[in-house]
Symmetry: C2
Subunit: 354 residues, 2 copies
């Protein structure tokens, strides 16, 4: 299997020469697009959409039809693994994800098992295959998973949380129980991502959305250690091509040195960290991805172009080669973003030369 | 006016020798205390409580009656300034602070004026005087204000916000308007804190609760520059005693070097930053305050003692003198904290020797 026709994204991650700085947007297939909302309406609800490979394929391709993005990302939910573990994922209207059976009792934690991705997560792998066929080798497809700690947050809290006090109480009071959950989660994430790679994902990203809520010590022990386990268990190549792995800890800017040491190919950065400083801190160990503030896209085209240029110049300020940077937002695109504003961003990034 | 009998807090901030590491807790007078809830019930609502000097004094002293804390902090709200500006502060049940007239129109922004603290904020100054009398020179009293940017967040958003998209859109699209608001806010905060100092506050803290939501570039221009304006306008001493100033930017751990250069005496840190690393980065420029994860207090006494000791050892790891550290949480104490758990924390901190 050859690389896609536009492989700038993969080349940037592997720090090979690129034609221009490639970009994709976290949550690029999503609610800011009217065509997405139309498909979602047709699906009936969000979970139906995730669980239908043909509709997941349809919405994955929607942003690529509008914008010259350099990668597609599998449309799915971050919580498919705990759903496959039997926790009963559901979405309360306007409240985000919830679990019918949050993981709080010791017996339930001891009963937790690693789901076989080829069984309960078959619908995700089918979506990956279908998207690869539909992409027809135009741009690479990114697979993804939540991190072991981020999955545990939702599993223990039973949904989103502003202070994570249930899981953090477990962390401080019963670290043995949390380590048990994280160990199961790390095995599950590894198997899930490897199955996505087997099904055709050409790069993978691990979203550590809540690692940044931890203390600097707890992050090392309860998030980074398990990210490292996952990364070291991942298939490094498939069909003769390297499959790069990106790790993104929201709010992890202070910990980049240790994150660059876990064996991943790239680190995602939010907008609080300077790309130039990050490059100086991690040296040549990893590629970097990011990091425009998503709210920039609410301003007009001139302001968007100016801010995107500042991000690109920040990276270029180290004077190193142009490669090693994948442009992205520092977090998912807001559902309230005017879709036409994204065009100015794509053009600015593709036209930039250091 | 002499220093208080227990002046370890002031000495730590000024990096003079201390008897032990002093501590206080952000939001130490608050909803986790049943006696606070009782006073609040009597007040009818939160704003009545803030605006009554005698009740504000009563709740300020409540945590000091329970625990051997080394400082009192004025009980007040972070949004008294915009309320005095006429924006109409109110509290919707269970929804946090809101403004009747959020600041969105250019004409309203141009009309904004600096409130005279001796007029519309008299009730705060009266509370400061009354608390000082009641403390009878036992421990120092801390005055406080929100930062210019943090006040602007609430003023423009009209309340709390998860993504700050209204103020950030203004920041990217109409930076001139935001700079105008921030300039007025900086003048207002300076006048307000100086009036608190005149009334008897022996140290002041500026809460930059939302500065950490900004990009690294925007933080410098829209938050730090105005923090610097405030700090440089503050009275440095009163009644012959130095009045130290603490700046706390939640999520600001990546920017400590530039924050240490604005002329404040101490920086507050949340739990994502290592105190030892912070000390190595800022050298001898400032004292440091923090930084236990507040959720630690949900665990049992042994776990609390162990975590607090790790924080103290982290600071001591630099091998410098014991002073220069004020122990605190990395954010306000949770309203769900069991009050009896705080005792284990206070004892651990006071008994620690490096």
């Amino acid at each position: 299997m050859a690389r896609p026709h536009n492989d700038n994204f993969l080349r940037a991650l592997l720090r090979e020469p690129v034609d221009y700085t490639p970009l994709w947007l976290m949550r690029q297939a999503g609610r800011y697009l009217p065509e997405y909302n139309e498909t979602r309406r047709r699906a009936g609800n969000f979970l139906n959409l995730c669980k239908s490979p043909s509709m997941a394929c349809e919405v994955t391709l929607q942003p690529l039809a509008r914008y010259k993005l350099d990668a597609a990302i599998l449309f799915s939910d971050i919580l498919t693994i705990p759903d496959a573990m039997g926790l009963g994922l559901y979405f309360a209207e306007g409240e985000g994800p919830k679990f019918e059976r949050p993981l709080r009792e010791e017996w339930a934690i001891r009963d937790l098992t690693v789901p076989d991705p080829y069984d309960h997560l078959r619908y995700v792998l089918d979506a990956v295959s279908e998207i690869r066929r539909a992409l027809d080798n135009s741009v690479p497809l990114i697979g993804f998973s939540g991190s072991p700690f981020t999955l545990a947050c939702y599993m223990v809290e039973g949904g989103g949380s502003s202070d994570h006090r249930t899981i953090k109480t477990m962390l401080y009071q019963r670290p043995d129980l949390l380590h048990h959950i994280l160990d199961i989660n790390a095995q599950a994430v590894t198997a899930y991502l490897n199955a996505q790679i087997e099904a055709g994902a050409q790069a993978v990203q691990i979203f550590d959305t809540w690692g940044g809520a931890l203390s600097h010590r707890a992050f090392q022990e309860f998030s980074l250690a398990y990210l490292k386990k996952v990364v070291s268990g991942l298939k490094k190549s498939h069909d003769g091509e390297r499959v790069p792995c990106i790790v993104f800890t929201k709010g992890g800017g202070q910990w980049l040195e240790s994150m660059a040491d876990i064996g991943c190919d790239a680190l995602g950065l939010d907008w609080t960290t300077s790309l130039g400083d990050a490059r100086r801190r991690v040296g040549d160990k990893v590629a970097l991805q990011g990091n425009l503030d998503p709210i920039t896209l609410f301003a007009g085209p001139d302001a968007i172009a100016a801010e995107a240029t500042r991000v690109l110049e920040d990276y270029a300020s180290t004077g190193g080669p142009m490669t090693g940077h994948v442009f992205n937002l520092g977090h998912g695109i807001s559902q309230f973003t005017p879709p036409e504003h994204v065009t100015a961003l794509v053009e600015t990034v593709h036209n930039f030369r250091a």
